[in-house]
Amino acid sequence: MDELSGIEVLLVEDNDHDAELTMRAFKKCNLLYKLYWVKDGAEALDFIAGSGAFEARDSRELPRLILLDLKMPRLNGVDVLRSLKADERTHAIPIVVMTSSSEPRDLDECYNLGVNGYVAKPIEYTSLTEAVARIGMFWLLVNRVP
């Protein structure tokens, strides 16, 4: 399944329009990394584990960056974060939370679980594009992982 191999960025986002704007921002700043979009936390964990709808995917391949929304149906972002950071196999994958929430409670919880970055999604298009560009540049080009 070529579509599912070599994925570098996993976008976990239940809002179609937010997802489209994020992907557009990646393209716009020439971050031509292979990105895959899943629509909730359960799908995200299936993707990583190569289970459920993603059984055909080679689960030894891990994305280099996960962009994670918090408020999602079924399994929310905090649950995904908890699960991935507790698993030795996945705990080093950089996870950046991108959410509409700037609630201190959410921030605290995510940092306690070991999130690598937390961004309140800007409403303004140019700020959103810039934020996505900076996240992409840093985590994909500058940052090193074990």
Binding site: N15, H17, D18, S100, S101, I123, L128
Partner: protein
């Protein structure tokens, strides 16, 4: 003075909390659709503006500017609702540095470019840095907005230490206002000027008042129609 029983007091408090949490959820849930409206209108502009005629581009700008207004209203309401609920921290805050950083951010992001801004030495206080940043943001953008149509907009920020408190002033040479309406200034959704000339949400100064009050301080304003305005707030020097 109305006597309120403990039960009634608890009920009023619960209602207030509920109202604020509704306000927060509503404004929070409005963010995603507004982000989509702004984002997709911008995408349309980026990719297809050349195929629109002048009227088409004008209509698109109306969509963008109105969506921007909803956005500002949401941001202001989120802060307003949070002000009543969030525990405050109290740390030493360098008010001069904070005012300077807020002012330069504002002027960079579309404030009047030719404005003359002077910020005097401002004594620091103990308070919640994020809230005080929001307070400066409202007062400085307010001053910049109302002075924006002057040939040379002037903004002047100064402070005076008094017994037990510091008084901060933000003065502009803008259009000012009639002191007869001064009591309305800090009320939620109160506006003294029409929206086309001076866009605003009517939440900013209500936030300023709430922030000052939560620090144990006060706010007031002094102005004359056509001759600029001075907005002042006093904060206690001892941590509240």
């Amino acid at each position: 003075m109305i006597n309120v029983s403990d039960d009634q007091h608890a009920e009023i408090e619960a209602l207030g909390t509920e109202l604020e949490s509704i306000c927060y959820s509503v404004s929070h849930d409005l963010r995603a659709p507004v982000r989509a409206v702004i984002g997709f209108a911008r995408a349309l502009e980026e990719d297809h503006a050349s195929r629109l005629d002048a009227e088409g581009r004008r209509l698109l700008q109306v969509v963008l500017s109105e969506a921007g207004r909803v956005n500002r209203l949401i941001e202001d309401l989120v802060i307003f609702s949070r002000l009543g609920r969030q525990p405050m921290e109290s740390v030493p805050v360098d008010m001069a540095a904070l005012a300077r950083s807020v002012a330069s951010e504002l002027l960079e992001s579309g404030g009047p470019q030719h404005a003359i801004l002077s910020i005097a030495d401002l004594p620091g206080v103990s308070g919640d840095r994020a809230l005080l940043r929001a307070l400066w943001g409202h007062l400085i953008s307010n001053a910049a907005k109302f002075a924006s149509q002057r040939a040379i907009p002037r903004l002047e920020i100064r402070a005076a230490a008094e017994a037990g408190r510091v008084v901060y002033h933000v003065r502009d040479n803008g259009i000012g206002f009639d002191m007869a309406y001064a009591d309305k200034l800090f009320g939620l959704f109160q506006r003294l000027h029409n929206d086309a000339a001076y866009p605003g949400t009517g939440v900013g100064l209500a936030n300023v008042k709430r922030i000052a009050h939560r620090h144990g301080g006060t706010v007031w304003a002094d102005a004359r129609l056509g001759e600029g305005a001075t907005f002042s707030f006093a904060l206690p020097t001892e941590a509240h």
